[in-house]
């Protein structure tokens, strides 16, 4: 029953491969050129020499600070989201009170709110709370807008837990907190992992909230830092692309280690 190879499809896949890989190759190769080579030679010519100077330039600048800020924002956002959504999802599945159920429906409506549209009131609130230009200012709305998808994923997964398991625990006399720790947490592990990855990616790549809610170098995250490099490095595009390459490395490492988790986090709530 072995089918013959599908040549047209293979060809199409190769063309697509070139489209995907071409820009990435450009990214890496230009980041290894000197500025003079970049300005003096066409991108298609083979460079005389490769150099790591651009990476040195980037790493001796503020890159570390931006990276650290990004890590803080990401970790704090994930911590908040996981801490508040796991108990909430448990309550949604096991507590039938109208407060919880209506609240959940309202929260799901949050899937419909484009974060962009709330940027002006968020800006107003953050400045009134005197949080402008702090990482907290970025973390709070980023976490809030990650809640709907996180809840959706967790609730979906907890609904799959057979009722009998909860009831067995209840018969053993376990209180809700023990159920949460000994039953919900282990069973929801894959879903929590998905939520962690999804939330982390969103926080890691966030742009609009940091753009509007922070300004100084000490609170600049990586995405804004990259954008800022564009002005700072000017036509030193190789250095800019070196910074871009460096910014990809952490996620690339995660991809190598936990490809399955990363991909499931990406499609959180949407993949079947």
């Amino acid at each position: 029953m072995k089918s013959r190879p599908n040549w047209p499809a293979g060809l199409f896949a190769l063309v697509w491969l070139a489209i995907v890989v071409g820009p990435l190759l450009y990214l890496v190769t230009v980041s290894l050129r000197s500025r003079a080579e970049y300005l003096g030679k066409s991108a298609w010519e083979i460079p005389d020499a490769l150099t790591l100077d651009n990476y040195v330039t980037v790493l001796t600048g503020n890159f570390g600070q931006y990276l650290l800020n990004n890590v803080i924002v990401t970790v704090a956002t994930v911590a908040i989201v996981v801490l508040v959504t796991v108990p909430a999802a448990y309550a949604v599945v096991r507590n039938t009170s109208p407060f919880v159920q209506r609240g959940f429906t309202l929260l799901l409506m949050g899937l419909a709110i484009p974060a962009q549209a709330t940027i002006i009131p968020v800006y107003l609130m953050i400045t009134r709370m005197r949080l402008y230009d702090t990482l907290t200012a970025v973390i709070l709305p980023t976490a809030a807008f990650a809640l709907p998808v996180a809840m959706l994923v967790l609730v979906n997964s907890l609904r799959d837990v057979p009722r009998e398991l909860y009831e067995a625990q209840a018969i053993d006399g376990a209180g809700p907190l023990r159920v949460l720790v000994s039953l919900v947490l282990p069973l929801a592990r894959p879903a929590i992992m998905t939520v962690v990855v999804y939330t982390a990616l969103n926080a890691w790549n966030g742009f609009l909230f940091p753009l509007v809610l922070t300004q100084s170098e000490s609170s600049r995250v990586l995405t804004l830092g990259l954008w800022d490099y564009q002005g700072q490095f000017g036509t030193n595009v190789p250095a800019l692309l070196a910074a871009v390459t460096l910014s990809v490395l952490p996620i690339f490492a995660v991809y190598l280690i936990g490809r399955r988790f990363l991909l499931s986090g990406l499609t959180a709530g949407f993949g079947k």
């Binding site: 907290t136 100084s216 002005g231």
Partner: protein
């Protein structure tokens, strides 16, 4: 015993943990300044901020108390607007003078410095009067100059000009001829960073000023957008359109940026012959293309005259200077006044500015400027400002922010040929 009783405390603890995470990150925010200490805000600049900090240090050494906070360009304008309406307002704030300051003056937020400047003649007389006037509104002084003067100049690549056997333009017609010359040689005549509308604005400002005189824009600023309907505006914009249509800016200007360094690099590499830009272009070139400057290939002239035009050929546009203004309801108003009348014209402050390559707005600086790292360039700017009949602040700083933003968009459309001179005027006059 109900098990719920220990759930709540635990949940509360969880919340406390979250709050702790959150507030731990909040400590990097700016703290409150202690009472009696001057809070000073300025635009971020790696070189100049150090000098400003020094002036604060010397103010402190004389018994005062002050601290400096700095911000990048766009966030600065945003943050200042927010702060001026709140108790977090700084005592002294950096600004560009003109209409930019007027919005705050009209809102009653800015202290009148006229009397204190009259009392401290030494301070007042130290500054070039036309520059001091940059922060004069309705006959009152609202700011004191604190950074160098930044008129817009026409930069050119000397090597490219030499190779073509031509001289930099002194009249508009020469400029048009040069466009043809360089086009024939496959060189972009004028580099333009068209992704950033303020670079295009410099052309509109100079052409209108040379063609019709500086009063036309003054009228727009003082009496509202209807002033754009002055027929001189359409006529001037038509002149500019001639230059654009002739290919003066080449074909790809709409995707060249200034912050991204594109336009400056085109000039340095000889791919473009000229570039209209503020005086900071020099420092920028020195930073990005040091060889180009060191080989003496970066040239500069004043904007060409338009024969028959009403504007004085000595007129300048650009950043007149930057100013410190005091907030009207500041608790430290007296200290603020003392700061602006004592530190900003001190020799040490002026010398430091000159050393950093700035051209300070003080009288009698001719000798001192010889000590500048670029004496020829600094003296050129200094003479230019001393001789000018009128120094117009960039329109986008001189108009209210909403009108300025709208005008810049229309201007980009104009440069792309999407709107005609008449349509440009109709659009901005209808605001």
């Amino acid at each position: 015993m109900s098990r719920r009783s220990w759930v709540r405390p635990l949940l509360a603890m969880g919340l406390v943990a979250v709050t702790a995470v959150v507030s731990a990150c909040g400590t990097s925010g700016p703290g409150e300044t202690s009472a009696g200490s001057l809070k000073i805000w300025a635009l971020e600049d790696p070189v100049l901020n150090k000098i400003e900090q020094k002036s604060i240090d010397s103010f402190k050494a004389n018994g005062g108390n002050a601290s400096l906070e700095t911000f990048g360009n766009d966030p600065y304008k945003q943050r200042l607007r927010v702060a001026m309406g709140s108790p977090q307002a700084p005592d002294l704030f950096f600004n560009w003078g003109g209409g930019n300051l007027k919005e705050y003056v009209d809102a009653g937020k800015v202290a009148d410095l006229t009397s204190v400047l009259e009392e401290n003649k030494a301070a007042k007389d130290a500054f070039i009067p036309s520059v001091l006037d940059g922060a004069k509104l309705d006959g009152k002084y609202y700011g004191v100059p604190m950074r160098g003067m930044q008129p817009v100049l026409l930069f050119f690549n000397k090597q490219v000009f030499k190779d073509a056997g031509v001289e930099p333009p002194t009249t508009w017609d020469q400029l048009l001829t040069l466009v043809d010359t360089f086009k024939a040689k496959n060189i972009t005549p004028i580099a333009l960073a068209g992704t950033q509308a303020w670079t295009e604005l410099m052309w509109a400002e100079y052409v209108l000023d040379r063609f019709a005189g500086h009063e036309v824009f003054k009228n727009i600023r003082d009496n509202g957008p209807a002033g754009w309907k002055d027929p001189a505006v359409v006529a001037a914009m038509s002149k500019l359109k001639e230059l654009i249509d002739r290919g003066g800016f080449g074909q790809s200007f709409a995707s060249v940026g200034y912050d991204a360094g594109g336009a400056s690099t085109l000039l340095a590499q000889g791919k473009a012959a000229m570039h209209l830009m503020g005086t900071w272009e020099y420092t920028n070139q020195l930073d990005q293309s040091p060889d180009f400057v060191k080989q003496g290939n970066l040239g500069w002239v004043a904007f060409p005259s338009i024969p028959g035009g009403k504007g004085d050929p000595s007129n300048l546009v650009g950043n007149v200077s930057n100013f410190y203004s005091a907030t009207a309801d500041s608790k430290n108003l007296d200290a603020a006044k003392k700061f602006v009348t004592t530190t900003l014209h001190e020799d040490s402050y002026i010398d430091a500015l000159i050393e950093a390559g700035d051209v300070p707005p003080v009288v009698g600086a001719e000798e001192k400027l010889k000590k500048s790292p670029n004496p020829e360039y600094a003296s050129f700017i200094y003479e230019l400002v001393l001789d000018t009949k009128n120094f117009q602040l960039s329109w986008d700083q001189d108009l209210p922010a909403d009108d300025a933003t709208f005008m810049l968009t229309q201007l980009q459309e104009f440069f792309l040929g999407k709107v005609s001179p008449q349509q440009f005027v109709d659009a901005v006059a209808a605001r």
